[in-house]
């Protein structure tokens, strides 16, 4: 009996561990003939551990038969099987793309969506044809997934198509996906389109506004800074992280943007709310934009005694950026009464 037939026979063993080892051994044999018995066993296999071993084996087998077998499994009724083969196919890389092109042409909307799920780990350039088709797909989920992938993979050549979608789309989720994609691949044209679509973003519902803020953070200019900062007072506290991230993003490219006298009181709304320490941290860090001002400097010194350690840490980072001559002494003195080790280290370094 060949090794393979011996292992295949053991795939039917009563003992779960024997079936696991059988699947593992078939995987290590790395033979195309191993694929069919593994796939056949999957449907009837009740044990999750054995199924896992089969999935690992299919990952190990390099032959095209493994790709073909997995592609057929994309249509399985069992979501564990469908989704694990997405992982397997992703792992196999760009070699699976020609096979997926067929699925894209012939599969139903669920299969087309799963195709894009496979592609989400791969460079977009290997699947241009699939993405071209996906962006005009009749099913919104296919388009949304395609847009998500392209943004994350920084596929700049699809920027124009995504901008068109942003202007034309009516479904909120697709609009949001387009905005987020443009964060990675957008430019000043994209910003203009965003402003056309949303002339007054301050009135948008949260789920839109967050995506807009991400785009503005990546693409916005000085003129957007004050409007974004004002949102700290106008909108709910759950939006503060997104607002602060946008301010940080704009400021990184336009450091003259933060000259507004209102900025300190606006940021204090977030700093003083210690129920969200990470947000307070972000807000203190944003004070770094204007830390050269005396009033801000004094406020930051005050933050050194905040009950929230993240606020103390952020203020140290901002203060160091001011490079004021008296600072070393001030921080060293503070270190004597600081109880938190990370903060003490930051005060001393």
């Amino acid at each position: 009996m060949s090794d393979l037939s011996e292992f295949v026979a053991k795939l039917e063993a009563a003992d779960e561990t024997e079936r696991v080892y059988a699947a593992e051994d078939i995987g290590y044999l790395n033979a195309a003939e191993g694929v069919a018995p593994l796939v056949a066993r999957l449907d009837q296999e009740p044990s999750r551990a054995v199924r896992d071993a089969i999935f690992q084996a299919l990952t190990r087998i390099e032959a095209d038969a493994a790709v073909e077998g997995c592609i057929r499994l994309l249509a399985s009724d069992d979501p564990q099987i469908r989704n694990q083969v997405v992982e397997i196919l992703r792992h196999k890389g760009a070699a699976v793309v020609p096979f997926l092109e067929t699925v894209m042409r012939e599969g139903d909307k669920d299969l087309r969506k799963l195709t894009l799920d496979v592609l989400s780990g791969l460079p977009a350039v290997s699947a241009n044809a699939i993405y071209q088709a996906a962006l005009s797909d009749p099913d919104p989920n296919v388009i949304i997934t395609a847009v998500e992938n392209l943004g994350r993979a920084r596929a700049h050549r699809f920027k124009g198509r995504i901008e068109e979608l942003l202007l034309a789309a009516s479904h909120p989720m697709l609009i949001g996906a387009c905005l987020e994609a443009l964060v990675g691949i957008g430019d000043e044209d994209s910003l203009a389109i965003l402003r056309r679509r949303f002339p007054d973003f301050s009135m948008l519902p949260d789920f839109f506004l967050v995506s807009c803020l991400k785009a503005i953070g990546a693409l916005g200019t000085e003129r957007d800074f004050a409007a974004v900062a004002a949102l700290l007072a106008e909108r709910g506290t759950q939006l503060r992280p997104a607002i602060l991230s946008a301010l940080v993003g704009i400021h990184a490219r336009h450091c003259g943007a933060a000259h507004d006298d209102n900025l300190l009181p606006l940021l204090r709304l977030a700093i003083d709310d210690l129920s969200a320490p990470l947000c307070s941290y972000q807000a203190v860090r944003a004070l770094g934009f204007i830390s050269s001002r005396d009033d801000v400097y004094a406020f930051l010194i005050g933050c050194l005694t905040s009950p929230e350690r993240l606020v103390r840490l952020a203020s140290i980072e901002c203060l160091r950026e001011t490079k004021r001559p008296e600072l070393d002494e001030v921080l060293a003195a503070r270190a004597l009464s600081e109880t938190d080790e990370d903060v003490r280290q930051a005060l001393r370094s």
Binding site: Q80, E87, L114, N141, E148, P172, E180, P205, D206, F207
Partner: protein, 123 residues
């Protein structure tokens, strides 16, 4: 005034998690997210939740297995669970109810509809 209800959102797409989170936070829910069923279970076991919103197609642990494991635990037999999935075949819905979901919503769904369904279930 009642304390805010807490919802667990389980989806492997970062964008979808964020999108649904902001819809629900604006509707005055407290939201915690998880990347798949396994992460969802760890979060579920770590604090009380009033409702779970889960995708089906996730690797590592899919939505049906996630729901099965929730319902296997007697403490969660009454926890409302809503499936939010791209799959719209009848058999998927049947399976969803078989494993113990209370409602099946096809995505993408309108934000108002999602909030309305959740409020209805929580009453």
């Amino acid at each position: 005034m009642d304390a805010k209800k807490t919802i667990l959102i389980v989806d492997d797409s970062e964008f979808v998690r964020s999108y649904h989170s902001y819809i629900l936070e604006q509707a005055d829910f407290h939201v915690i997210t998880a990347v798949d069923g396994s992460d969802g279970l760890e979060k579920l076991y770590s604090r009380p939740f009033d409702l779970v919103l889960t995708d089906i197609n996730m690797s590592n642990m899919d939505g049906y297995e996630f729901i099965r494991r929730i319902r296997d635990d007697a403490r969660y037999s009454l926890l409302p669970i809503i499936i939010v999935s791209t799959e719209s075949e009848g058999k998927d819905k049947t399976k969803g109810f078989e494993v113990g979901a209370n409602l099946y919503i096809v995505k993408p769904c309108a934000p108002e509809m999602m909030v309305e369904n959740i409020r209805m279930i929580l009453q």
